[in-house]
Assembly symmetry: C2
Homo-oligomer: 330 residues x 2
């Protein structure tokens, strides 16, 4: 099957929802031609601001994300949602419920929702999310909300790549502040204490504030801590205000940092090399012979891998300056 990439790209640029959904799927599957298609939309990207929304399972992230998305749409923003589903053997089932509930708003005008499986994403979760955000960007979204459960390292990396990060906490989830300890404090630009109608919300707020004060660096402002409740409606408007103000005040992914671009280039190179290696050596006699020698106990995998690698030569990189066609941003 050949994919009508040109049609898809034109459809995405023209705001066609079906084209958006299909292009995302084909790029996610790394179907032949995906890279040229990404190049083709690249000049249309650079406007979307990405908010990462993360927190422990059960913190009410999906409901909050839905409410926030609806509020932003009501204020005139075009909003996309990327829901990163851990799809782990153990949590997949339970979480799927949340995802399905969230799909209700997928039909609301202006909100497009895309689920991502963490398992088997060919280009890796981070690059996969980056690609989806770009396609939504070219489609015309002003804001993309990436919702991810903060369980695995991969999921955290995805959130780290957002322009701004919301960390969602709740009272009564085990040790409260405990769940925030390792590594999350530094990446939060806003802390939300959700389900604030429950007992202990104020305590969680002051715990977070105390930790933020301790972690504070000179001159840097301490991130705000908001209380929200889907039941009473408390704080939802303030949250939406914060987000829409930040939408206006934040440089989008267009103004990417050098670190982020460098990381993406290296990741793309690695993906391509992986693909190349698997393709090159699958069904290759040399690999088969090597495997047999290891099984027979005549060689070890470490030596064999090194020897096979010695067949790859590096030529001084210098061709990058005078590139061919390739996307120039508008």
């Amino acid at each position: 099957m050949t994919i009508a990439w040109q049609e898809l790209v034109a459809g995405v640029k023209g705001g066609n929802l079906r084209a958006l959904a299909r292009m995302i799927s084909h790029v996610e599957n790394r179907d032949a031609g995906w890279k040229d298609a990404m190049r083709a939309i690249y000049p249309e990207t650079g406007r979307t601001v990405v908010f990462g929304i993360t927190g422990a399972p059960g913190a009410g992230k999906s409901t909050l994300t839905s409410k926030v998305a609806q509020g932003l749409v009501a204020r005139g923003f075009k909003v996309g949602i990327v829901a990163v589903d851990p799809s782990s053997p153990f949590s997949g089932g339970a979480l799927l419920g949340d995802r399905l509930r969230m799909q209700e708003i997928a039909t609301l005008d202006g909100i497009f929702i895309r689920s991502m499986a963490t398992r088997g994403t060919l280009g890796g979760l981070c690059q996969g999310a980056r690609d989806i955000v770009r396609i939504m960007d070219a489609f015309g979204k002003d804001i993309v909300l990436i919702e991810t459960v903060g369980v695995g390292q991969d999921e955290i990396e995805v959130v780290r790549a957002a322009d701004l990060v919301l960390v969602v906490c709740v009272p009564g989830l085990g040790d409260g502040i405990q769940t925030l300890k390792a590594g999350i404090m530094e990446i939060g630009d806003l802390f939300v204490v959700n389900k604030a109608d429950r007992d202990g919300a104020d305590e969680v707020v002051s715990d977070i504030q105390a930790m933020l004060e301790i972690a504070k660096k000179d001159e840097e402002p301490v991130p705000p801590v908001l209380k929200t409740s889907a039941v009473t409606g408390e704080g939802i408007d303030s949250l939406i205000n914060w987000l829409s103000e930040r939408r206006e005040g934040t440089e989008s992914v267009a103004a990417e940092s050098a670190d982020r671009v460098r990381e993406e280039i290296l990741t793309l190179m690695e993906e391509e090399l992986f693909h190349h290696i698997r393709l090159q050596w699958t069904g290759n006699g040399a690999l088969q012979a090597a495997v047999e020698r290891v099984i027979a106990g005549k060689r070890d995998p470490y030596s064999v891998a090194e020897e096979m690698l010695s067949t790859i030569r590096h030529v001084e990189p210098e061709t990058v300056e005078h590139g061919k066609q390739g996307g120039t941003r508008r």
Copy 2:
């Protein structure tokens, strides 16, 4: 700092605990010379049988692993434990408690426990665990128990690489059987319903049995389902019996499958290439220039990555047959 690899290797082979711990750390850190050291111990490996123990958080895996390890030691086996700690920002704190509790038995004669962080394992979690198992193997362990929480995809992959897999379930953990749904049924060689003193244990057993019957392939025996309880002691002996019988009846990692060896060779090649790429291009003018052009909006990351890759050439692999030294298994 140069590492006294020869001393470490000799120490590991000679059963020195300090050498064991230090060699694992240095290999995990990919300190210069790690590969030669792995080659040097490789001929001494191939005896250990690896049991993977997985299940949802809160299933009591750590306690069960401790009890099983003690029982196996009492029957004369030398046992090692690899505890894979998700170290996620959210669960790290809570799980650390379990880990610390388990460390109590680290002093019991014959049991060596090693924790692995899932975050930042340089060679990847799977290869990292494989290396640790091999070092424990060379040290003289008969059995290695790999305990991992079945949350992330990486953790599942680690368990999949074990010789035999125990899946631990408990009554009253949400939907019971629900937690087992996606992908775990196929990898379990034994199912353990732990905390069997709780209500609903028999129901979980029959749910699992029903699912196993449905998933059953012709001719293949259905994996057994055991009830255990650390409180009443129920089933612990049966579990230890099953494991020690399997220890005798199972071909160890020595008789590795072609698939597994092929995967390891490819993984090692990929790790080396990653390392090479990062090393090669870090501080390299070409990458820096590429990053700047992308930021300036003159190029896109997809094109740039492809062009930089075109500087790597592949030479027909043929040198593998006539390898140099390298480990031959005893």
